[in-house]
C-alpha cells in the first residue's frame, strides 16, 4: 500500500479529492480502491461541462473483475477529464494519486469538503475493512 498524500480528502466510497491552487478540485480513486478492483481495463469519463452532484455516480471504472461507479466528492461543473485514461486505464493501477486522476470539478460550495475524511481517518476506515 503506497503512502497516502497528506493534501488529499477522501469519501468513504474511496474517491480522493485535492483542492488545487486555483480552487478547482481534482478527483480520482484511492490506491486501496484500485487494488481491490485489480487490473483496470476501461474508464467511462464524465463530459467536460457536465454538472456533477456530490455523492452521485459520475464516472465508471471497470477492471477485468467488475464495474464500479465513481461518486463525485463535491458538486460543481466538470472542467477537465483525463483523456489519457481511455487508452491507458491501467495508469490508475500504477499511480492512483498522480497520473491516474480522473476529472476536475469547479466546486460550487466549499462546505462539501467538510464532509470528506482526512488521510488519517481514511487510513483508519480501510484498516477496519481489512480486519
Amino acid at each position: 500500500m503506497s503512502e497516502i498524500p497528506g493534501d488529499l480528502k477522501f469519501q468513504k466510497s474511496h474517491e480522493w479529492a485535492r483542492v488545487e491552487s486555483d480552487g478547482t478540485v481534482t478527483v480520482g480513486i484511492s490506491d486501496h480502491a484500485q487494488s481491490l478492483l485489480g487490473d483496470l481495463v476501461y474508464v467511462e469519463l464524465p463530459g467536460v461541462g457536465d454538472r456533477v452532484q456530490a455523492g452521485n455516480a459520475c464516472a465508471v471504472v471497470e477492471s477485468v473483475k467488475a464495474a464500479s461507479d465513481v461518486y463525485a466528492p463535491v458538486s460543481g461543473e466538470v472542467v477537465a477529464v483525463n483523456e489519457a485514461l481511455s487508452d491507458k486505464p491501467e495508469t490508475i493501477n500504477e499511480d492512483a494519486y498522480g497520473e491516474g486522476w480522473i476529472f476536475v470539478v469547479k466546486m460550487e460550495n466549499k462546505d462539501d469538503l467538510a464532509e470528506l475524511l482526512d488521510p488519517d481517518a481514511y487510513a483508519e476506515l480501510i484498516e477496519g475493512e481489512e480486519h
Binding site: G38, Y42, E44, V60, E62, V64, A67
Partner: protein, 361 residues
C-alpha cells in the same frame, strides 16, 4: 463454513488475494490477473483446482450406469485413460452439471464435477447409481493442480521419474495415465496444452513448489475465467444450469443420440432437436471500448437475450461474451450498457486457441 484446499496457506504466503468461490477460499490472483493470463498464453501457469470434486465409480455395471447418467456416450471410451466431456441431465433435459469422465478399467471410471455443485451432484449420482450396484466414492484425499500453457507439459515432464515421464510424454490430448503416484491428464480449461494433475494431499505442497521452481507461474481463478472464456468453454451456473438444455448452451457437440441408449433427459432433447431450440448461445465481440458483463441485456431482431459470461479479453484487448438469444436471424445486435446501446458482433467461438486469436474474431 468456508473450505480450504491443502494449498491455502501456500497461496496466502505468495500474497494471493483470496475470494469465496462456491464455499471455498480460493486465490483470485497473486497480484495481476492480466499478467497471470498472459503467462498461461505465452509460457506456463498453474492453478489450484483442488476444490473440484473427484468421484471414483466402481462395480461391474459402471459403464451401463454411465450410459444412462450422461448425455454424451461413454461408449466412445475404448482405451484405458481416455477422457470424455459430458453433461449430466435431469429428466427435463436441464443440465445438473458438466463433468469429465475418465475410463480406467471396465469396473472403474473416474469423474470430476464442479465444486459449487458438489452436494447435489453426489446426491444425484448416488441415487442413480444404486440400481446399478455401482459404488460411489469421493476422493477428497486428492489435490488437483492444472498446469497450462505452451511450455506447461515440458516443465511438468522435467519433474517426473524416467518411467513416469515416458508414459506422460506419450499422452494424447484428453488422455490420462498414472505415474509417480500422480494421476496425469492431458486436459485443461484454458485453450492451451497442458496437464491437470491429481496429487495426494500430503505431496501437493511440495509438488506445487517444485513446479514454481521450474518456472510455472501461479495463476488465480480470475485468470482461469478469462482464459476459459477466450477458449470458448462454458462455466456451469453462469452459461448453463438446470433450466437450460445442452442445445441452448452451445453443447450440442456433447450430446450423443446413439441408437438404443436411454439416458436421462433424452426424450426432451430429441423433441428439442426435432423442433429446433428456441434459444441459442452465441459468442459476442465488442469493438468499442468497454466491458461486456453477465446480466447485460442483448437486443436482437428476434427479441431480447442476455449476456451469460462476459469479460475483457486480455489476448484480444477487447470485450468478449457468451449470450443466450432467441433463435433465428438476429439482425444487428446491440448490448445495453448502462442505458447505452452498443453494437456487438456475433462470432464463432473459441475466441482464442493456442495463444492466438481465432479467425473472424
Amino acid at each position: 463454513m468456508t473450505q480450504h484446499t491443502v494449498l491455502n496457506a501456500t497461496h496466502r504466503a505468495l500474497g494471493a488475494k483470496m475470494v469465496d468461490f462456491g464455499g471455498w477460499d480460493m486465490p483470485l490472483n497473486y497480484g495481476s490477473q492480466i499478467e497471470e493470463h498472459h503467462a498461461v498464453r505465452r509460457d506456463a501457469g498453474m492453478f489450484d483446482v483442488s476444490h473440484m470434486t473427484v468421484v471414483d465409480l466402481t462395480g461391474a455395471n459402471v459403464r451401463a450406469f454411465l450410459r444412462r447418467l450422461l448425455a454424451n456416450s461413454v461408449d466412445k471410451l475404448k482405451v484405458s485413460g481416455k477422457a470424455l466431456y459430458s453433461c449430466m441431465l435431469n429428466a427435463d433435459g436441464g443440465v445438473i452439471d458438466d463433468l469429465i469422465v475418465y475410463y480406467l478399467t471396465e469396473d472403474f471410471f473416474r469423474v470430476v464435477v464442479n465444486a459449487a455443485t458438489r452436494d447435489k451432484d453426489l446426491a444425484w449420482i448416488v441415487a442413480q447409481a444404486q440400481p446399478f450396484g455401482v459404488a460411489v466414492k469421493e476422493r477428497a484425499d486428492l489435490a488437483m493442480i492444472a498446469v497450462q500453457g505452451p511450455n506447461a507439459r515440458a516443465k511438468v515432464l522435467g519433474l517426473l521419474s524416467p518411467e513416469a515421464r515416458a508414459k506422460a510424454e506419450k499422452l494424447g490430448k484428453f488422455v490420462a495415465c498414472d505415474g509417480d503416484g500422480l494421476f496425469i491428464a492431458r486436459t485443461g480449461y484454458t485453450g492451451e496444452d497442458g496437464f491437470e494433475i491429481m496429487v495426494p494431499e500430503a505431496q501437493a505442497i511440495a509438488f506445487w513448489n517444485r513446479l514454481k521452481d521450474a518456472g510455472v507461474a501461479p495463476a488465480g481463478l480470475g485468470a482461469r475465467d478469462t482464459l476459459r472464456l477466450e477458449a470458448g468453454m462454458n462455466l456451469y451456473g453462469q452459461d448453463m444450469d438446470e433450466t437450460v438444455t445442452p442445445y441452448e448452451a452451445g453443447l450440442a457437440w456433447t450430446v450423443a443420440l446413439d441408437e438404443g441408449r436411454g439416458f436421462t433427459g433424452r426424450p426432451v432433447l430429441e423433441r428439442e432437436k426435432a423442433e429446433g431450440p428456441k434459444r441459442v448461445m452465441v459468442g459476442l465481440v465488442m469493438d468499442e471500448k468497454g466491458v461486456l458483463r453477465h446480466g447485460q441485456k442483448v437486443l436482437t431482431a428476434r427479441g431480447e437475450g442476455e449476456i451469460l459470461s462476459g469479460t475483457f479479453s486480455p489476448t484480444l484487448g477487447k470485450a468478449i461474451a457468451f449470450a443466450r438469444v432467441p433463435a433465428g436471424d438476429p439482425g444487428a445486435v446491440r448490448v445495453d450498457i448502462r442505458g447505452r446501446e452498443v453494437p456487438v458482433r456475433i462470432v464463432k467461438y473459441p475466441f482464442v486457441r493456442d495463444g492466438k486469436p481465432c479467425e473472424g474474431v
